[in-house]
């Protein structure tokens, strides 16, 4: 029971965590990415198509990631070059992508909503002999998809790059104060575009984890607002990689609990589904009040 819960919680964490890490990087560069859902959906769609076409999950994952990166770039260009408001562009982008993919499914593939790609290869589960028999540890480490391990690797890599690489420092400088960064000669728009591409690519990979994960098909509603949960996660984790990833584990756990309780009955999935959002409002309220108090004291 507990092993099942852990395994399904982590499986549900991976798509959200990939998207949230991308969103956190984008946020550090100063842009709130509301369009994560659209990048995830694109990645899931293209990933499923390419995996079916070549019968290879690796190619599917790469294609999904690239597709997400392309939508991330387009969205970023609209924000940086056409000065579109990031929130509105993100919301609009989600509507366009959902519409475009739904349209393609019906007009080109002749299906309504769900696409079964023939020959699709799902993500393999990597069993680790020896550990898979250990109760809790086995459920955590064994039987996970490669994307789980990508996610685990990404957390320290991203944290390190933000702290130590030129790109990371410039990115944070851009986010901290765009005018100051520009005056020092940084190409802030280009830096933000790079963060946008990364956010899109990681969210696209998160989408691949959905479509090539447990079920191995594509559905136009398969992200089910996970892009917004990812948004909640990086707000909850204050845009730092490790706290963001841990927030995703928490939300993944809520999700798994909801599915388990659905079979048992008693708890409403709707209520559990709202927990990430309530958590974010609480965190924003608490940090907001604290910062307000602190700045008020400074003034007086």
């Amino acid at each position: 029971m507990i092993d099942d819960l852990i395994a399904s919680a982590l499986a549900l964490t991976v798509p959200i965590a990939l998207a949230a890490l991308g969103g956190a990087i984008h946020r550090r560069s100063g842009i709130v990415n509301i369009g994560l859902d659209s990048h995830m959906l694109t990645g899931a769609f293209i990933g499923a198509l390419i995996s079916g076409l070549f019968g290879s999950w690796i190619l599917g994952a790469i294609a999904g990631m690239l597709a997400g990166g392309v939508t991330g770039l387009i969205m970023s260009l609209l924000i940086t070059r056409l000065k579109g408001n990031e929130i509105i562009v993100g919301l609009g982008f989600n509507i366009v992508t959902l519409g475009a993919i739904g349209y393609l499914l019906r007009a080109v593939f002749g299906v309504s909503g769900t696409l079964q790609v023939p020959g699709l290869q799902r993500l393999p589960a990597l069993d680790i002999p020896g550990i898979d028999k250990v109760p809790v540890l086995g459920a955590i480490l064994s039987g996970q998809t490669p994307l789980f391990w990508v996610c685990v690797l990404l957390v320290p890599v991203l944290a390190w790059s933000l702290r130590n690489t030129a790109w990371g420092i410039r990115l944070r400088a851009t986010g901290a104060s765009e005018p100051a960064a520009t005056s020092l000669g940084l190409r802030t728009l280009r830096i933000r575009d790079s963060a946008g591409i990364l956010a899109g690519a990681l969210a696209g990979l998160g989408g691949v984890a959905l479509s090539l994960g447990a079920v191995g098909l594509f559905n136009e509603n398969m992200t089910a607002g996970r892009g917004y949960v990812a948004l909640a996660a990086f707000y909850f984790g204050r845009s730092r990689p490790l706290p963001t990833a841990l927030a995703c584990v928490l939300f993944g756990f809520f999700d798994a609990l909801q599915i388990q309780l659905q079979t048992v009955g008693g708890f409403s999935p709707d209520i559990i589904g709202t927990l990430p959002y309530i958590a974010v409002v609480l965190v924003l309220a608490l940090t907001g009040v604290r910062e307000y108090r602190r700045s008020a004291r400074k003034v007086s």
Binding site: V32, I34, G84, I88, V89, G92, V281, G288
Partner: protein
């Protein structure tokens, strides 16, 4: 550590229109609406045409049938206006808050909870005369819509907590709570999908031209629009909204009631959104069911932005998007066109509504040179 960014409304309103005559004023307004909304709409139509051509449809043919389906006959115009009604409310709600520079995306949540409240109250209005049976649910809807905005409003006004994220989160919280409460308390027996009971006959907003769907909600919406126009132009508070929206620090220095304005902007948007949901429940749907709002709150944002918060622009935008929705729903029956085309068009318009179209550098150079030559 990330610093908390505070957002302001994505576009700023035009300078007040100072023509003396009514016709002159209307003319200026229409030119402005066309200028702001024209390019996004045209580009969206081109994008749609490309998508249509690539997938083997004749774009002109499709746009032609969309136009006929939207405005071709009295009954189709009726359907378009019915589809425009909820958008009129959400558009006004968004514009109301954006005037004060408050960037709410929470109208969707207010619309949903307003609709649920009106549906539940309306189903229990059996013995009352229509005047009361309609007023009570609508009042309830307005209160419910305001309540949705209450926490983000307090957080914004007193502790400067970014309202974009809190209102966005409250949409999801409210939609989840609404779904749960319908299943737990208000579900109508004998119905497979989770929906409330239909409202009592006396609580139904009467149709203006039966059998068409347009009903008194449109009248309420238009009255609200006129009220918004008058309030914005002639009231002290309307002036304060504009001042806080365009120069918040200056307004604080001048002793304007900035905190009140912020509170009122968010609560007012919630109230109008809730009222919109209430009229939608009593007038069109007759009950609350899952998927009650077809993203009306978000479309309302696009309308308010395209119109630059101008009342006439809001009306035009609501009718335009209403036409897309109503025509898109029926045209797919005739020419087997996926209705998702409408989402592509709407989303593109929304994205481009906030984009600044940069005049190419060579054009700008030429313009300055010719102006310099004349002077």
């Amino acid at each position: 550590m990330t610093s908390t960014t505070s957002h302001t409304a994505p576009v700023s309103p035009d300078a007040p229109n100072v023509r003396d005559s009514l016709t002159g004023r209307l003319l200026v307004t229409f030119v402005r609406v066309a200028r702001h909304a024209g390019l996004p709409v045209v580009i969206a139509l081109i994008v749609g045409a490309i998508v249509l051509s690539v997938t083997g449809y004749d774009a002109f043919n499709v746009y032609g049938s969309l136009t006929t389906e939207a405005f071709g006959s009295a009954s189709r115009i009726n359907a378009t206006l019915a589809a425009a009604t909820p958008l009129l409310f959400t558009g006004i709600a968004a514009a109301f808050a954006y005037r004060a520079g408050v960037f709410t995306v929470g109208v969707e949540g207010s619309f949903v909870l307003g609709g649920l409240t009106a549906a539940v109250l309306g189903a229990n209005m059996g013995g009352l005369p229509p005047a009361l049976a309609i007023t009570i649910p609508l009042l309830g809807a307005a209160v419910a819509g305001t309540l949705v905005a209450l926490i983000p409003a307090i957080l914004r006004a007193f502790w400067a907590v970014d309202e974009v994220v809190t209102t966005l989160m409250f949409n999801f919280i409210v939609i989840g709570l609404a779904g749960w409460s319908v299943q737990a308390f208000f579900q109508q027996r004998g119905q497979a999908n989770s929906a409330t009971a239909y409202v009592s006959d006396s609580a139904v907003l009467p149709a203006l031209a039966p059998p068409g769907q347009v009903n008194w909600a449109l009248v309420i919406g238009l009255a609200l629009l006129i009220g918004y126009a008058v309030w914005m132009r002639y009231s002290t508070l309307g002036f304060e909204f504009r001042a806080v929206g365009s120069a918040p620090r200056f307004s604080i220095a001048q002793g304007l009631r900035v905190r009140n304005v912020l509170l009122l902007a968010l609560l007012g948007a919630g109230l109008i959104g809730g009222l919109g949901g209430g009229t939608h429940a009593l007038g069109i749907v007759g009950r609350y069911s899952a998927g009650f709002s077809a993203s009306f709150g978000f479309t309302g944002i696009a309308i308010a932005l395209l119109a630059r918060f101008n009342p006439i622009g809001i009306l035009v935008g609501a009718i335009l998007f209403g036409a897309l929705n109503s025509a898109g729903a029926t045209v797919q029956l005739f020419i087997n066109l996926p209705v998702q085309l409408i989402d592509i068009l709407e989303g593109t318009v929304m994205v481009l509504a906030v984009a600044t179209f940069i005049v190419p550098a060579w054009w700008k150079r030429r313009a300055t040179r010719s102006r310099g030559g004349k002077a």
